[in-house]
């Protein structure tokens, strides 16, 4: 599903956030990306959905080389990929359901069909009772779950999650992990960036270890 050949990313000349990364993630895999802060976890995810461009190397997503993707194709690539951002990126003036609806609007799904789907997904992340709350009226953990709901609402082929349990207590962490496992069982490829060692090690999933922009294993 995702393949990297000698991928490097430099934000500025000489300052590499990622260097010579080679990896292969199969369809249906559940993979953790881990490493200390500043290791390049977020950068790795950003490359996959084209928020940042590859500096050198080849990057294949779902069989398409996106190292030199045309700007006009990027939106269509992103629709195949659900992303949970480290800082959530919710729109503060929109309610929970409106924030989730946004992801459906851009692909052209409106009305009753969208409403039903949104209700189902918001219930699934346990926020059914806060449908019409604004993000600022929610706790960090709740905001995170809204972000997860938005990432999943279009049934993406790939789910990228940047610290999806970073703000959650252990109980909620388990709940979210169960949710991700459930999505993964239905065939979605999942990539989770996390520096929660305990979570990564006890999960029994594949692990990609990064340090200073290099692959460790």
């Amino acid at each position: 599903m995702i393949q990297m050949f000698h991928v490097s990313k430099a934000y500025s000349r000489e300052a590499y956030a990622l260097q010579d990364i080679n990896l292969k993630i199969a369809k249906g895999d559940f993979v953790f990306v881990t490493g200390p802060s500043g290791a390049g976890k977020t950068t790795l995810l950003k490359l996959i959905f084209c928020e940042e461009s590859v500096t050198s190397g080849q990057l294949l997503v779902d069989g398409r080389n996106i190292a030199r993707i045309r700007a006009s194709r990027i939106p269509y690539l992103r629709r195949q990929i659900g992303v949970v951002f480290q800082d959530f990126k919710l729109i503060p003036t929109m309610t929970v359901s409106e924030n989730v609806a946004l992801a459906m609007e851009v692909v052209g799904v409106y009305g009753r069909k969208a409403k039903r789907r949104i209700a189902a997904i918001v219930n699934a992340v346990g926020l059914g009772h806060k449908m019409h709350a604004l993000p600022l009226q929610l706790s960090a953990g709740e905001q995170q779950r809204v972000a997860i709901a938005r990432a999943l609402v279009n049934d993406p082929k790939i789910l990228l999650a940047d610290e999806p349990t970073g703000n959650l207590d252990p109980e909620l962490t388990i709940e979210i992990m169960d949710l991700l496992n459930f999505i993964n069982a239905k065939g979605t490829t999942i990539l989770v960036a996390s520096h929660n060692k305990k979570l990564v090690e006890t999960s029994g999933k594949l692990v990609i270890r990064l340090k200073n922009g290099h692959l460790e294993n």
Binding site: F49, E51, S72, P75, Y76, L77, R78, R79, V83, F85, K89, L90, I91, T93, L102, A103, E105, V106, V107, G108, Y110, G111, R150
Partner: protein, 296 residues
Amino acid sequence: MLRRLVHHFIRAVASLKKAMFINLITVATITIALLLLAGYLLLLNNLNHWINVSQQRFTIKAFVHDDVVEKKLGEIAGKIRSYSNVRDAKVLDKNQAKDIFIDRHPDFLDIIEGLNENPFQASILIRVENDSADSVKQIATKVEKIAGVESVDYGERWLERYLAFRGTVKMGSYLLASLIIIACIFLVSNTIRLNIFTRRAEIEIYKLVGGTKIFIATPFVIEGAALGLCGAALAIAMLFVFFKLTLLGMNRESIHMMSSLTFYFLNNTGILLLLAVGVVSGTVGSILSLHRFLRI
């Protein structure tokens, strides 16, 4: 497709509401700019009406030699009627000319009856299609060359002055219209730029969840068009109120005074033109901003 458009409209309306204050100011400024243009159009429209009232100036009178017999007169008139842009050619023989003169100046009856020969000249009255001033001169020179025609009269000096004046007015309208259109484009473009700026975080998120540029841009374009349309509609409405309050009152008075001075409001073409200027400059303004700040 329709559904998508409806959705874009809903988003545009929501965003118009959010930036209510700045949008109101923009509409007010556009209204003032377009009010200028609307006032100018109103003036033009009335000028046109007054000129139409005095339209008899745009007739051509061809005087015919005294030795042309009556049968020949009809032939000449027929020939003139076959010219393009001629609506009608009417023969006025010597006797009719005399009758018309006596009708207008009954005091002269005795003097004229006293003459042993009719001093009036036969003529042909030519009306031009659409009363177009442009073809008058052209037709008159053609008629003048017909055998039997002695001279033509078409108010040459007046016509030339009118054509020159009309040319100036036309140039003036183009100049004024372009200036105002540019001002409106600039205004809308600035407002939309501000709206883009205040919503940049939101736009970023739309991009990240897979929104195309068109999807992101459409509500802003609708917003710009709506600002222009509102400005134009308000300008027309305000001009109408002004018209009702002042000029129409003068119309009523002038009826009492048996004067022929009547005021008219903008015709449909003028109203549509103003609305189009609003919508087009609003659309262009927002596209300019989007182009610069979203690289669309």
